[in-house]
Every structure is written in C-alpha cells, then in structure tokens.
C-alpha cells in the first residue's frame, strides 16, 4: 500500500519538477542581474560585473543549481525517472522478450476488459429506467424449480394484484403478440406486446414523440405506440407518422406515440425488445375479469419494500383470489407440478439466459490474466537472471533491497501500462466483433461499450499484473546471495527461499491452468452430449419456411388446406425436392397446448399437451418413426372421422403403452371425441433457453381437420411451417414464388435450414465451450512457456554443478531426468490444488452441464493427463540442454 502511495507521490513530484526548475533559474537570474546592475553603476565593465555577481552567488548559476538540487536531496521523481530510463533501455535491449510480454499481457488484459464490459452491460450496469432496481417481473415457477419460469401468469392475477397488493406502487401486465407488417421490401414478421395502460408509467419512461397508450385507447379505434428502432429502420423516421396510421396484420392502428431509443423492455428471455405496443381490448378472450389469458406481470416495488416481502404478499393475494375458481393455480397440474409465484428483478429476468455463460467466461478470463502475469514474472525474472551481476554490483554500492524491488516494479509497471494500451485497442476490436457476430443470439438492452467502469477494470488488471509480474522476480532476485554472485563471477548459488518462490510459481500456474482445463473439459463433454443425443427426427437436408396466412381470404379450414395443397404441389415440382409437409409448429418447439381427456368429466384438471396440426407427409418428411398403428392419410379428410396420432410419451401417459393406445378415444379441449389411429416416436423439444432437451407428450392432429380458427382470438393470421426435404436447398425466392402462385396474400416470413435451428438451440453451450477451449489453449501455452522458462533458468543457474557432475561421470540422461522429475513433482502438487479448486468452480458450472456430473472422472483424468504431459514436455526440452553442457568450457570460465 505504502509502495503505491509512494509511486503516486512520485508522479505528483514529476509534474512539480518542471516548475521547480523554472523557479530556481528565475531566482538565480534575479540575483545575478540585480548584482550586475549595482556593479555596472559602480563603473565596472559588464564582464567584471558578471564575474562579481557570480562570486556573490557562490559560483556560476549552473553549478549553484546543481548544489541546490543536492541540498534538496534526491527526489522521488529523479529516482523514478532513472528507473524508467533504465527499464526502457533494458526492454529495448531485448525486443523479442518485450514483444512477447506486451502481447501476452495485452491479450490477457484485453480479454478481461472485453468480457467484463459484456458482463457488466448484462448483469451490473443499471437498466435505462428510473429507479430500475425497483422493477420486478413475475412468473409462475414450479415448487421443484422455484427460480425457473414454468408458465405464464394468468391475467386475473394482474387484476387481483392491482386491486390488493400494497407492495407495488404500480403494476401492469404484458404479453407478446406477433404481427405481419407489409413494407416496401415485402412482408415482415414483427414481435410486439399487448399491454395494460399502466405499462409505460410503471417503467417510468415518457414518450419520445406523441403520448403513451391510455385506458381510453382500449375502447376507441385501435391505437399503437411504436419503438424507436422500428420507426427509424422500417418507417424512415418521419415525424408525421404520429397521428397517422399503420397496418399490422391487416388491422389499421392509429400511431399515438413513439418511445425513446433506449426504451428496450424484454420480458422472459426475449432476445430483443418489442417493435410496438398495443392495449389488451375488451372482448379479447382470456383477458376479461377472471380470464386466464397468459401474461407476464411487471411491477414497480413501493419505496422501501423488498422483492421478498412483495413476493410473499402477492403470492398470498393470488392464493386467496384463485380459490374462487374451480380450475385454479392452487391445484397441481396434470403432471403433479405445484405452482409458486416468483418475482425477479427486470435486470435478472433480462439476463437469465446469458448469466451463467457470462460469469463462466469472465472467470476464465481472470484465470488467464493471472497465468499471464505469472508468466511475465517468469520472463522478467529470466531477464533478471542475466542481470544478476548488475543487480549485485548495485547492491554492493549501496542500493537497498527496497530500492531494487522498486526498480523491478517500475519496469513491470512500464510493461503493464504499455500492454494496457494494446489491451484497450484489442478490447475495442473484440467488442465490435462480438456485437457483429452476436454469438449469444442476444445483445444487452443498454448496448456494449467500453466505459469508465471498463477502464477501472483495466487499471485494476494493470495493478494486478504489475504486482504479480514485478514482485515475483524482485523478491526472487533480491533474495539471492549477492556476495556469492559477485565472488563467483557468474551464476551464483540460488538460495533456498528463492527456490521455494520458483516452485511456488510453478505450482500456482499449473493449479490455475488445471481449473480452466477441467471446466473446459466438462463443458466440452456437455456439448458433445447435447449434439450426440438423438433428436427423434432427422433435420438433415430439411428447410422450413414460415408462411403467414391472413384471415382474409384464408378464412376457413378448407381455404387454408386448399392453399397448402397448391403450395405443396408447386414445391414438389421443383427439381431436387423429395418431400414437402407442413405443421403449425416450428421444429424443436412445443405449443398449442390443449387439455386431453379420456372421459366426459370437465371438472378434473386434465393434462395439457402440445397439439399441433400436421399434414400426412409430416412424419415421413422429418423421418419420425411410426411405433404403432398408421400415420395420417387420405381417409383423414375434413369430413372424415376426427382422428389423432399420439407420440410415445403421450400414449404411455394416457394409456400405459403405445399398442394399447391405438383404437382408443381421446377428447381434445371441449371438442368431440377423436380416434387414436397411430403412435409415433418422441421428438425432442427445447424449453425457453434452458440447457436441456425435453421430451414432452404431444397429440398430432391432421391438418385437413384442424386448420380452423387459431386458439388466440386476436390472431389475424395462421402460421404454417412448411418443411421441405430437398437434395439441394431451395432459395427463399423459390418458396416465395411458389407461395405467391398458390395464394397472393400469403406471406413467406423466413426460410431456414433446420440443422441451423438445431445448432441454435445448443448455441450457448457451444459458445461457452468454444471460448473456454480457447482460454484453455492459451493458458496451456502460457503455462508451458512458464515451465520452460523456469526449468531453463534452473539449468542455467546450475551449469557449474552440472558440469562438475558430468565431469565426474554423471549420466546426461540422469541429469535431464532429475530436472524433469522436479518439474513433474511441482506439477503434481499444482494439479492436486487445481483439481480441488476446480471441484469448487464446477459447482458453479452445475447448471450449465447436461448429463455430465461435476466430478466427471474421465474429464478430470483427461485434464490431469494433458496437464502433466504439457509440464513434462515443457520441462524436458530445456533440461536436454543440461546434457549438452560443454563441461570443460564451463569449468574453465
């Protein structure tokens, strides 16, 4: 601490110094000039007057100035500047070492700053809302996993909370809604929100143009508030849009306002903010008093109320309100899950999916920084070794130990500051790449940039590297026996504390590298598991097109099926197309949950299952195997008997097994009975962004019988997902042309390869693994270099000993082995510490692992073996040198 204070004092002194020089010169000039005036008045010549003036001054001004400096004592700044000069000279003398050090530290500090900036933007920097820490989001979780969202809140919970919960100063509800917007460049699928009138005031952000939505807008002509991004990007940013109209999914809305650029509300794992906001309207099914329409509830905590207290009160109010309904959230659902209310801060809610990834990567970056700093310490020390004589001489002529330590610290400070400049440049570039590549699939609402906080972290990193990289060699060198160094003229003996320091460094480096290695191995195994797990369908060579069918002219089941048949015929006619099918759900998703009953009883809570509509070719196109019965065919037409196909899990849950299911009857929702005609294999789905493939029960319905009014009453279109298996992929334009020919109002919103969508589902784990593997590779490389350096130094230090021993007949092999053995011994203890540490870290990783236990033996073994191998090789190469020591030459010099 005192050392840092003294550095600071030096810097201040440095600034004062220039002024001091000027003052001294002025003062002496005044003396000389005044004395000269008197002399000249006395009739002396100018030359004589000057001499007399100098005499009275006590000598020429230059000399007096030196004496003044002498009298003031050697200032800190002088010493600091001398160290600085000396340091820079040394660094210039060894440009290769300097370059390696600058690069190593630059990359390590840059990595830390980059990962911190991203993490900070997600987790720590407050959101752009007034008192953002009081904003909370509510969701229903299960008692088993009370912190993970399980289902949406029912609309009636919002009503009861608004009426009775005192912990909220304001409460509002919102739910996503999609819309198709047709611009000059074609149709576009937008994600907007339906909200209650208090939504904007709860967030506390005024409109950028125009006004918010108010309760009055719920009944008048439809009104919409637009996001700044949508307004700028797609509407050209013209101001006359406010008061004008816009058509969303063929409904005309009056634009009443535009929100500011940084108004970015994401609820429950949306990757980006909404494009527009409209109100819930009376008559929306599920959004009337007592309605169970899904919403997410956004509340502002009253001043001084904790989220915990608010949760308790809100849960109690909801429990009481639910009792009034026969079907309610106080009962467990069909699968036996009990529901609990969860409140999380808006910021937590926004970062839920990325939190663990960010913290893992940040931790890895800090590990790498430590390793890099230790390594630079080793390198500087290697340089220091060559300077052993210089240090010894300086010590002999009176430089104290503290003085030497300060010199090393100054040198490492120069290096750290130099590399931090490089680091900032790297971080700026890396952040650009991060934003452009968007590897997490989502960017923080407040943007990612280098700010003062990042600069503070960079400064902290510089302090850490300076201390680690400077203190290690300084203590190490100043602990050596200087007298012996001078007497022996070369090398000198290494003292016991110095050797301990060396070994300690080795152990620490190996320990930190091991932690990284183990974590990377666990994450890599997770990704391998995720990738290797059978999905239940074959995504290869399949594309999926998202096609929106507006209610006009596609107003009936028959009209929609006619359109699809026409589209499928045209697609099948294209060269290379093998199969075409459609479903009302995209790949990997569950949805259209419907209660499935086996009796006429409407009171017991029935299990709700995913119930998509699919065309007959669906199972074949996606290679979903048939387990029993038959798939859909021509018999299952619009006027045929209503039928369903179950997946194996649904069959097992409802009837015990697949074969027993075929021929039975089920009742979907309030509709009439359907015959079960077949059972197909389970298909994996994902749930939000949690890292898990899920297997959920599903009931498939034939599209010919079920492309009726979609369940969402406000829906203005029905989305069909058209699956195309083709030898070579169709372009989006191919699909658009076919859709245009089949029905002009249908909008093709996207065409994506299904394998990409599968890869996206494992994107976060893959990203974590990739980054950690990189960090790991870098840390192994650094650790290798460090071990190499330490062993090489040990060999150099003991050249005389080696020479004597080989002169006395020691086997070169034995000498090499003794060095390698020592390194491996240090490696083993580093490994042991590293394994214990990584067990602790892996506990934090647990939520990111999929079917890999944290104490996975094969990962640990692999990491340990790799670490030992690196240690062995890095020690063996320089140790070989010991065997080539020209003994006679060494002993003679």
């Amino acid at each position: 601490m005192r050392r840092w204070w003294s550095y600071w004092a030096r810097l201040i002194d440095l600034a004062r110094r220039a002024r001091l020089e000027r003052d001294i010169d002025d003062e002496l000039r005044f003396h000389v000039e005044s004395e000269m005036e008197v002399g000249v008045q006395r009739g002396l010549s100018e030359e004589e007057a000057r001499r007399e003036a100098h005499d009275s001054l006590g000598g020429p001004p230059l000399l007096v100035r030196e004496q003044i400096h002498d009298a003031r004592g050697v200032s800190f700044s002088d010493e600091f500047r001398a160290d600085l000069r000396q340091g820079l000279r040394l660094l210039r003398r060894a440009p290769a070492v300097t370059a390696v050090v600058l690069l190593t530290l630059g990359v390590a500090i840059g990595g830390t700053v980059t990962t911190f900036s991203i993490t900070d933007a997600w987790l720590f920097r407050p959101l752009h809302f007034p008192s953002a820490d009081r904003l909370v989001v509510a969701f229903m979780a299960t008692a088993a996993k009370p912190t993970e969202p399980a289902v949406w809140m029912p609309y009636r919970a919002y009503l009861s909370w608004k009426q009775s919960v005192r912990s909220f100063s304001s409460v509002s509800a919102a739910f996503f809604r999609g819309a198709t917007w047709r611009g000059a460049s074609g149709a576009k699928s937008l994600v907007g929100m339906r909200v209650t009138p208090e939504f904007f005031t709860t967030l506390g952000v005024p409109a950028f143009r125009g006004r918010h939505l108010t309760a009055g807008d719920a009944t008048g002509s439809p009104a919409v508030v637009l996001s700044y991004g949508f307004w700028q990007r797609d509407l050209g940013g013209t101001t006359d849009i406010v008061g004008g109209t816009i058509s969303l999914s063929d409904i005309i809305y009056t634009v009443v306002g535009i929100m500011p650029p940084d108004f970015d509300v994401r609820l429950l794992d949306r990757p980006e903010g909404a494009a527009f906001w409209t109100l819930f309207r009376p008559g929306d099914r599920g959004y009337e008093p007592g309605g169970m329409g899904p919403v997410t509830i956004l509340g502002r905590l009253a001043k001084g109320v904790s989220a915990q207290a608010a949760r308790a009160e809100a849960a109690a109010v909801m429990e009481r309100a639910e009792r009034r309904y026969p079907l309610n959230f106080n009962q467990p659902d069909g699968s036996g899950n009990r529901f609990v209310v969860n409140l999380s801060s808006l910021q937590e809610d926004n970062a839920r999916t990325v939190r663990s990834t960010l913290l893992t990567v940040l931790g890895a970056a800090v590990c790498l920084l430590l390793i890099a700093a230790m390594n630079v310490g080793v390198l500087l020390f290697g340089q220091g070794l060559k300077r052993r004589n210089e240090v010894a001489v300086r010590h002999a002529v009176g430089a104290g130990r503290g003085r030497l330590v300060r010199q090393f610290m100054t040198e490492s400070l120069v290096l750290s500051i130099g590399s931090s400049v490089l680091a900032i440049a790297l971080a700026l570039a890396a952040l650009r790449v991060f934003v452009a590549a968007n590897p997490l699939g989502t960017l923080p609402a407040s943007g990612v940039h280098l700010d003062l906080r990042a600069a503070a972290v960079a400064a902290l990193a510089v302090v850490i590297t300076t201390i680690v990289a400077g203190l290690v060699p300084a203590l190490r060198l100043s602990a050596t026996d200087v007298g012996a160094t001078l007497r022996s003229g070369e090398g000198g003996r290494t003292t016991a504390p110095a050797q301990r320091a060396q070994r300690g460094m080795l152990v620490a480096q190996i320990a930190v590298s091991t932690v990284l290695l183990v974590c990377a191995a666990l994450l890599a195994k997770t990704v391998i598991h995720l990738r290797a797990e059978p999905l239940g369908f074959n995504p290869d060579a399949v594309e999926v097109a998202e096609v929106a069918l507006p209610m006009t002219p596609f107003d009936s089941n028959a009209a929609r099926n006619r359109f699809y048949d026409a589209l499928a015929d045209r697609l099948r006619a294209k060269p290379g197309v093998r199969a075409v099918a459609a479903a009302t759900l995209p790949p990997l998703a569950g949805g259209q949950f419907t209660s499935v009953r086996l009796s006429t009883d409407n009171v017991t809570i029935a299990p709700r299952m995913s119930a998509p509509s699919v065309t007959p070719a669906y199972f074949e196109t996606l290679s979903i195997p048939l387990v029993a019965g038959r798939p859909f065919d021509r018999r299952d037409s619009g006027d045929g008997r209503p039928v369903v196909v179950l997946n194996a899990l649904a069959a097992a849950q409802l009837f015990g097994d697949a074969y027993r299911a075929v021929g039975q009857r089920v009742r979907l929702g309030d509709d009439s009975w359907c015959d079960v005609v077949g059972v197909v294999g389970n298909v994996r789905t994902t749930f939000f962004n949690t890292l898990e493939w899920q297997t959920a029960p599903a009931v498939y319905r034939p599209a010919a019988q079920s492309l009726a009014q979609p369940p969402d009453p406000e829906a203005t279109h029905l989305t069909l997902w058209v699956y195309i298996r083709a030898d070579r992929p169709l372009s989006a334009d191919d699909v658009r042309d076919a859709a245009l020919a089949a029905g002009p109002r249908a909008a093709v919103l996207s065409v994506q390869p299904v394998p990409d969508m599968v890869a996206n589902a494992t994107r976060q784990p893959a990203f974590r693994m990739t980054l950690l593997l990189w960090f790991c590779g870098a840390s192994l490389l650094l650790a290798g270099i460090g071990i190499y350096g330490i062993v090489a130094q040990a060999v150099t230090e003991r050249l005389r000993e080696i020479a004597i021993r080989s002169a006395l007949g020691a086997q070169p092999r034995a000498l090499t082995l003794s060095f390698v053995r020592q390194a491996l011994a240090a490696g083993a203890s580093g490994l042991a510490i590293g394994v214990v540490l990584s067990m602790m870290f892996a506990r934090l990783l647990a939520s990111m692992l999929y079917s890999v236990p944290i104490s996975d033996v094969s990962s640990l073994t692999a990491a340990a073996l790799l670490m030992l191998a690196v240690t062995g090789v890095a020690a063996w190469v320089p140790a070989l040198r010991a065997t080539r020591v020209p003994a006679v030459h060494v002993l003679r010099t």
Binding site: D26, H31, S34, Q67, I68
Partner: protein, 109 residues
C-alpha cells in the same frame, strides 16, 4: 563537490532563520544582511546560501513567494514558518546553553 560541515551548515541555517524573522526577504537581500551583520566574518557567499535556503524550504522551515522587488523585478521572497520559528528558538536556547558552558569552562579560576 564539497559540502559544508554540519556545524557550519547548522550555523548558517540559524543565521538565515534569524535574518528572516524580521521581514520576508529575497536571496540577494539575505546575503547582503548576513555580510553586513557578521562583518564579513562569516562569508556565506561561497555558494552555500541558495542551497541552504532551498533545503530549509524543503524542510518546511521557510515558505517562499514570488513578489515584485524594490527594483521592480520578480523575486522569490522567503519567510519563516511557524516550524521555522520554533526551530530558531530551539537553536538559540541550545546555543546559549552551549556558549554558557563554554564560557564557564574557559573562565580563569
């Protein structure tokens, strides 16, 4: 370069402090006063005045300030600080004790 011995240096410090207790002065004036008062016995002009002034300033016994001098030029005026006055009193006491002791010792009995 030769440094004045501690005794001489210490004496010079006391003389400078003594000279400056009356009024703030610049270096040249201090030199002139010292020369006048000690009757050239103590020739301080041999290069030790300015280093001494700076040392005292560095030690906080003097405080310096730039002012216009009698001939209209900017000059650095020195002034005794509280610490300086204390040091002077201390030195004067010490001196009295020492000189009394020496006089006692030298008194013919």
């Amino acid at each position: 370069m030769s440094r004045p011995s501690d005794l001489v240096q210490g004496t010079l410090d006391v003389l400078i402090l003594q000279t400056l207790t009356l009024e703030p002065l610049h270096g040249l004036a201090v030199a002139q006063r010292l020369r006048a008062r000690s009757g050239d016995v103590l020739n301080v002009s041999r290069g030790s005045l300015y280093p001494a002034l700076h040392k005292l300033e560095h030690e906080g016994l003097l405080r310096a300030e730039w002012r216009l001098s009698e001939n209209g030029k900017r000059a650095k005026y020195y002034e005794v600080t509280r610490a300086g006055r204390k040091r002077l009193e201390h030195e004067q006491r010490e001196w009295k004790r020492l000189s009394a002791a020496i006089s006692m010792a030298l008194k013919p009995t």
